[in-house]
Amino acid sequence: MKYAVDDNGFYGKFGGAYVPEMLYPNVEELRQNYLKIMYEPAFQEELQGLLKDYVGRPTPLYFAKRLSEKYNTKIYLKREDLNHTGAHKINNTMGQILLAKRLGKKRIIAETGAGQHGVATATVCALMGLECIVYMGEVDIERQAPNVARMKMLGATVVPAISGSRTLKDATNEAIRDWINNPENTYYIIGSVVGPHPYPDMVTRFQAVISEEMMAQLQEKEGRDYPDYVVACVGGGSNAAGAFYHYLDRPEVKLVAVEAAGMGIDSGESAATSVLGKEGVIHGSRTLLMQTEDGQVVEPYSISAGLDYPGVGPLHAHLHQSGRAIFKSITDEEALQAVLELTKLEGIIPALESAHALAALDRIGAKPDEVVVLNLSGRGDKDLATYLKRFHFDGE
């Protein structure tokens, strides 16, 4: 595959494993084993069984009639919001927890921003009876109380990251430091297509179930296994990577990645890495990175905690640079309007992250007879407090 990772862990010039020597054995152990374990028949059988009966896959591919009428094209929603725990994140955590078990690891660590990946990790740890420690920025702990409560109820220990800006990037730093301090018994479940190789490729493969199902579902509904457009939001980029994966080498499918512009690209309060980032190294990966001219990492901003990351997965950096994917950016305000629109037209309350993808629908130029699949990565339950406040449903 032209856009797949190469033998050294690179997508074009992006990727690699820029980790201190302390992490080399862990990353190397994973690199040597991940494909072998993932494609063992017994592993696949266990994973597929759990995805079906526990997670609730396959998720529906829903033809959104009223939304299609509004945008004068054929829009399907891939309903990742209907997964157990409310988002696509569990596709990855389920895969990685089975891998961790096969590697004999007893202790699971994870980072989380909004808490969706933390909840998905705590869930599979409860299911497998493994110890779970989730690092979360102190600032995020304050603003995402319901997800913190869920993780605790599921038996996870939530450790506040008190360094730096005390958000997702710092939670990731703390998880990596934990791994350095516990190199032998601990497995690190990264939540997106970021980090040192093989994480970006491994997480992409676990999320690729999304586009695999799309192919079969489109075949049934449209008589062909591909759409004209796949649209997905990108923070680190795991739901987009999964939705794009099986179409990467099919140029007839246009890939649209939607980033968070925050208050606006030029406002200084943004998370649109493809526009504002320069090549750099973060969390073990060479990628596009928002940084100062001196190479210090810049804190991004978006109303959506899940898109609030200063880097982007190396696959996406490559798709951007090669022109294979089209990148769009959507502001907080535009995303909020898209939340209301989908709620009113289709009776679905989307997550703020997914709303960024929805808001890009009028910018892709799809014709009336063209087919658009939009990956609805998560549901809006976690964002209700924001919605109540911003839409004044709280009686004010």
Binding site: Y18, M22, Y24, R177, I180, I282, G295
Partner: protein
């Protein structure tokens, strides 16, 4: 060209003390005074830390000193400016230590040329992997006579230690235990099997033990197993105390050496 690190290890066989500090901490202009004071107090080698916003391999002490140094306005160009005339004042071996990203943004080749011009002897970039160094940057470091120093850990397999030893010069940085910097649990010097194993390998480069070395006792123990030891976080804590810089430095170094 003279290599100050090589000369140091040729002249002195044991008990070498290397000290790390974050440039720009506690105050922006402290870099040169700290270097000169360390030399005056008999330190053998100095690692000047280039602060980074996301220091993955560091514990809280170095994280905080980096944050303060960045707030004070420390950057690589600023550091080079401060060190411009350092060789008029001291011949102590100087190593720059930091993370890859700021160096990449400055430009690796430009960085190496500037370091050579100033009289820097070596560079440590913990998140630049061996393979990428060999493929992309080794020739630039060598052209500029810079020792690229690599870390090894208790988990590093023998074959990889040998590979690292073959691509580096200066010394091998032996990370004492599975840990970020600044641990004071004493775990740092407990791993005598590992120290012995590396010592028995007969490497071309001398070994220095670092991470978790924080007082007289741990320094002395580390020196039993290698040419010397590296102290970072404990020194930064001493710098952060109230009082005169000179006094803080001399009492700290005396407490380690006595």
């Amino acid at each position: 060209m003279e290599n100050r690190i090589k000369n140091l290890f040729a002249e002195k066989q044991q008990g070498l003390l290397s000290v790390y500090f974050t440039a720009g901490y506690p105050n922006l202009e402290d870099t040169v005074p700290i270097i000169l004071e360390l030399e005056k107090n008999g330190v053998d080698l100095i690692e000047v830390g280039m602060p980074f916003s996301d220091p993955l391999a560091d514990g809280p002490t170095i994280q905080q000193s980096s944050e303060i140094a960045l707030k004070n306005g420390m950057t690589i160009p600023r550091l080079f400016q401060q060190l411009q005339d350092i060789r008029k004042h001291t011949q102590i071996p100087l190593v720059l230590m930091g993370y890859l990203n700021p160096v990449m943004q400055y430009g690796v080749e430009r960085f190496c040329q500037k370091a050579k011009e100033i009289g820097i002897d070596g560079v440590i970039l913990p998140d630049l992997p061996l393979l990428d160094y060999v493929r992309e940057y080794k020739s630039v470091f060598e052209e500029n006579s810079l020792s690229k120093i690599f870390l090894v850990t208790p988990q590093t397999p023998e074959q990889r230690i040998r590979e690292i030893d073959s691509h580096t010069n200066g010394f091998v940085y032996m990370v004492s235990s599975a840990s970020t910097t600044g641990s004071t649990t004493g775990k740092a010097v407990a791993n005598t099997d590992y120290f012995q194993r590396v010592s028995n390998m007969g490497l071309r480069n001398p070994g220095m033990i670092g991470f978790g070395i924080h007082n007289n006792e741990t320094f002395a123990q580390a020196c039993n197993h290698a040419k010397g030891a590296i102290i970072g976080s404990a020194f930064i804590k001493a710098l952060g105390q109230e009082g005169e810089l000179e006094q803080n430095i001399s009492s700290f170094i005396q407490s380690i050496r006595n």
